[in-house]
């Protein structure tokens, strides 16, 4: 796939994806990242520190959401800058047969910079209809 900078327009949608998240995903992310904070795997502990339940690592959601961008551009190394604020927790239920949480991701072109040959992709990431990431922006190099 090849994307031409000249064909990108602010507001243009690059795609959308649905992330199904399970408790197993959080355990896997904890192991891969080294972030073993028990709020991400221990319900008792999470509630004892006034959280609604086990919550996903913000970095899990951030890391999984950007896949929409890397799949679109076709090169994970093209993501030059990526930032977000974490505004709401993604509570992941302990259930069998259905996902513990469903996160929706949409990406649109936020800006195009011909001088640096980059585009800013703005991600909208929601859980239960509410934004969990705010100002989620990835700047990608477009050849």
């Amino acid at each position: 796939m090849s994307i031409a900078l000249s064909e990108l327009q602010p507001g243009q949608e690059i795609g959308r994806s649905t992330l199904e998240v399970s408790r197993a995903d959080l355990v896997r992310y904890a192991g891969a990242s080294g972030d073993f904070n028990p709020i991400h795997w221990n319900e008792r502990f999470a509630r004892s520190v006034d959280l609604p339940g086990v919550i996903a690592h913000g970095m899990f959601t951030m890391g999984a959401a950007v896949q929409l961008v890397t799949d679109w551009i076709g090169d994970p190394g093209a993501v030059l800058d990526y930032q977000t604020r974490f505004t709401r927790p993604v509570t992941v239920e302990d259930v069998d047969g259905t996902p513990g949480a469903v996160v929706e991701v949409t990406g649109v072109v936020g800006a195009v910079d011909a001088d640096s040959s980059t585009a800013r992709i703005d991600l909208t990431v929601t859980f239960n209809g509410q934004k969990v990431l705010v100002k989620a922006q990835a700047v990608v190099r477009v050849w």
Binding site: N37, M62, G63, P76
Partner: protein
């Protein structure tokens, strides 16, 4: 326990280097549900012009959080890890991280802002190779929640 307001401006020198391994890139990529072949197959990464497997865009968090741990474990900082919530995060890549890199992270506490009984702490990790090449700058804010927050 309260946050030491004098943390701002403090720096922690890089500890031991972090060796970026192929299996770690594959493991981390699976954990963030990444499917790009450049994370898994050397030939696919080379086709994109990289010497070896390319790390996902948020991989540097492993190195940054190891550097952050120096601050969180510092008894003088007054941070209760069980009350830490991640508030924001930014990665600026000077070049992609690839398997075989040996990385160092120097940590800077850029800002400390009191929020009720808690505090918002912003740290910056400057990540470079052991040879001195700049690789990534990460910015992270953590909210240490006070009681009842």
């Amino acid at each position: 326990m309260s946050i030491n307001p004098e943390l701002a401006g403090r720096s922690y020198p890089a500890g031991e280097s972090y060796q970026v391994g192929r299996e770690k890139i594959r493991e981390f990529a699976r954990a963030v549900k990444a499917t790009s072949p450049a994370h898994f197959e050397i030939a696919a990464a080379q086709k994109l012009g990289y010497a070896d497997l390319v790390a996902p865009p948020t991989f540097a968090i492993i190195v940054a959080q190891q550097a952050d741990a120096q601050l969180i474990r510092d008894p003088g900082a007054g941070i209760d890890f069980s009350r830490v919530v991640h508030a924001d995060q930014r990665f600026t890549h000077h070049r992609p991280i690839v398997a075989g890199d040996e990385l160092l992270a120097e940590l800077h506490v850029d800002n400390v802002r009191a929020m009720g009984d808690g505090a918002l702490i912003t740290t910056r990790a400057e990540i470079s190779t052991v040879e001195g090449e700049k690789v990534a700058t990460t910015l992270s804010s953590i909210l240490v929640r006070g009681e009842g927050q």
